[in-house]
């Protein structure tokens, strides 16, 4: 193990390390802690210039209930849910199929198609912006959740295919051959042999895509406009202009907007990290 396990060092070194950990963590998360402290302060603290002293009262509940009951925030949050979940389902379904095709079969053009998915995954969004916006307007899906979902599914299929294909490659191939010898139809092999083995990949991808899509901002501003379809990342700007300079409310608002992916991450950490670090180890 590298670096040398701290247990093998002197007691003094161990004590230093253990006391350094929380200090480092607080420094690392300082900007975030500042926002959390802001979000529980009362308005009066800001008018009196008491930014960093003790809060004059603990206003967690009033501030957050403003966010939930006195703004469009719940609508934006709900929009985000309605955009994110179908995208996750769609991208994972499509890429399970493409990944199966590219991972199991040998045919001409296999590697080429695979690399097309990888390459597309790297391009800057701006090169897609004008045509995608145009297409979305033309089919009457501008400023709708559907328009956003369709694009997200298509784009995420690139990354998901890379992931799924590599995962399927690592599965024991004899299993598939055995099924074939038994005369099982190919689509049944996918459904009953490969898919059950892919559960960890499906979970990892779902968590990752959820976070990516929830956090998307660029496409939300390009393809949607108002509170009818905009997700919370775009809605937060409207929220902030509603409460201009009310830092306690803006802070509370952005914490609420950030919460769902954070919860998902802490609940499904193992899958999340497994997905993110795919390929980091050979």
């Amino acid at each position: 193990m590298f670096p040398t396990p701290i247990q093998k060092r002197s007691a003094a070194a161990q004590a230093t390390y253990k006391s350094l950990l929380p200090v480092a963590l607080i420094l690392w998360l300082l900007p975030l802690i500042a926002v959390m402290v802001f979000s529980i302060r009362p308005d009066a603290d800001f008018t009196q210039g008491n930014y960093w002293g003790l809060p004059s009262s603990f206003d967690l509940i009033p501030n957050y209930s403003q966010v939930f009951f006195n703004s469009d925030m719940p609508r934006y949050l709900w929009n985000s849910v309605l955009i994110t979940l179908p995208t996750v389902a769609g991208a994972v379904a499509l890429s399970a199929m493409t990944g199966f095709a590219l991972g199991v079969y040998r045919f001409k053009g296999n590697l080429l198609i695979f690399f097309m998915f990888i390459a597309g995954n790297f391009v800057p969004f701006q090169i897609l912006m004008v045509p995608v916006r145009d297409l979305t307007v033309d089919v009457g899906l501008y400023d709708t959740k559907t328009g956003l979902i369709l694009f997200h599914i298509a784009f995420q299929t690139g990354f998901c295919t890379l992931f799924m294909r590599n995962f399927i490659r690592a599965l024991p191939y004899p299993l598939i051959e055995a099924a074939r010898v038994e005369g099982v139809a190919e689509w049944r092999i996918f459904l009953y042999v490969v898919l059950p083995l892919m559960k960890p990949a499906l979970a990892a991808l779902s968590v990752l895509i959820f976070t990516f899509i929830w956090n998307d901002y660029f496409w939300a501003v390009v393809l949607t406009q108002g509170p009818d379809a905009q997700p919370v990342t775009a809605g937060i700007t409207a929220f902030n202009s509603q409460f201009r300079a009310a830092y306690h409310l803006m802070s509370a608002g952005s914490i609420v907007a950030a919460l769902p992916p954070v919860l998902i991450f802490f609940l499904m950490q193992k899958h999340f990290i497994a997905g993110l670090t795919l390929g980091a180890v050979k």
Binding site: F2, L21, V130, R180, E186, A280
Partner: protein
């Protein structure tokens, strides 16, 4: 692969004559499975790349059909762009700053990973909390940092004030604003690199480390000659995601400064958006030309990434 004959004698009853599909099943199935994914990807990703190249040769406000309301101008958009557009120059050099400084996330991530790669109580929680900024959306990171930087209310100046400095208005200063935004971007990016390296460190071969230790390798030399070579896959991914992240920077700029002060924080991706959907009328052609330049800049890296991955695929194919 297409005609695998069973290794064991076939004891099944004679097969009924099979249909065309059944006979060609193995050749057809992959294409059927690929169809929806490839179709979606082509319509929304592959074709638009070429369309953007095409649109960049036009002057077009994005309303109606390109060929009716647009005007073909050939390379005029590029001539204007490269022939002394101040905003373009600023954006381009800012992109280079982003690229170079963003790479700091890699050594920083490695440093934190080395710091956290211990087994003491609670270390798992520490690791997840260090990683946690990556889960936040860039919009929230942008807001968090713009409040952190506020000249009066911000914590940064409050801390600097304790040391007698302070009064720094980072996002209001054209010379500092870009660096302020890059610092905000480095926060989640470093977390990402850290988790890549933590995973990599986990898989480092303990026998090699022990052998090197017996040979007297320690500290830096150990890291450089024994550990880093084993972390190569992690470094490669960290490099890919950091470069892509640097060139995709849009959200942070849009949220933190909206390109200002005096346009000093624009990057190509932001400038393109501004031109194409500007409040003074949509200039889709000019915007597309900017996007093409950004794409070509990125293509240098994409080609390198794909080439590395391609080599590996070939090697893995036995």
């Amino acid at each position: 692969m297409a005609n695998v004959s069973p290794a064991v004698p076939d004891t099944h009853p004679p097969v009924k004559p099979r249909g065309w599909y059944r006979r060609n099943e193995i050749a057809l199935t992959p294409w059927l499975f690929l169809l929806p994914g490839v179709l979606f990807f082509a319509v929304y990703v592959i074709v638009p790349i070429f369309q953007s190249f095409y649109i960049s040769l036009w002057e077009w406000n994005g309303l109606g059909d390109l060929h009716e309301t647009g005007e073909y101008v050939g390379l005029a958009n590029y001539e204007r762009l490269l022939g002394g557009d101040r905003k373009f120059e600023v954006s381009f050099w800012n992109n280079i700053r982003w690229l170079v400084l963003y790479l700091l996330a890699i050594p920083a991530g490695l440093f934190i990973a080395l710091f956290l790669n211990q087994t003491v109580t609670g270390i798992r929680l520490y690791k997840s909390l260090f990683f946690f900024p990556f889960v936040l959306s860039q919009v929230v990171v942008g807001l968090v940092f713009s409040w952190f930087y506020l000249p009066r209310e911000g914590l940064l100046n409050a801390i600097l004030g304790v040391f007698g400095a302070g009064g720094l208005n980072i996002l209001g200063d054209p010379d500092l604003a870009t660096y302020g935004i890059i610092a905000a971007g480095l926060w989640p990016q470093t977390a990402y690199c850290m988790i890549l390296y933590l995973t990599g460190l986990n898989a480092v071969d303990p026998e090699q480390v022990e052998a090197a230790r017996l040979d007297g390798a320690k500290g830096w030399r150990m890291l450089w000659y024994v550990i880093l070579p084993q972390l190569k896959p992690a470094t490669f991914i960290a490099f890919v995601v950091t470069i892509i992240g640097a060139l995709r920077s849009f959200d942070l700029i849009s949220v933190m400064t909206n390109g200002g002060p005096f346009g000093s924080t624009r990057v190509l991706s932001f400038y393109m958006f501004e031109e194409a959907l500007s409040e003074f009328g949509f200039r889709m052609g000019y915007g597309s030309a900017i996007a093409v330049v950004l794409f070509l800049l990125m293509l240098i890296f994409i080609t390198y990434f794909l080439w590395s991955m391609w080599r590996e695929e070939k090697a893995a194919r036995r």
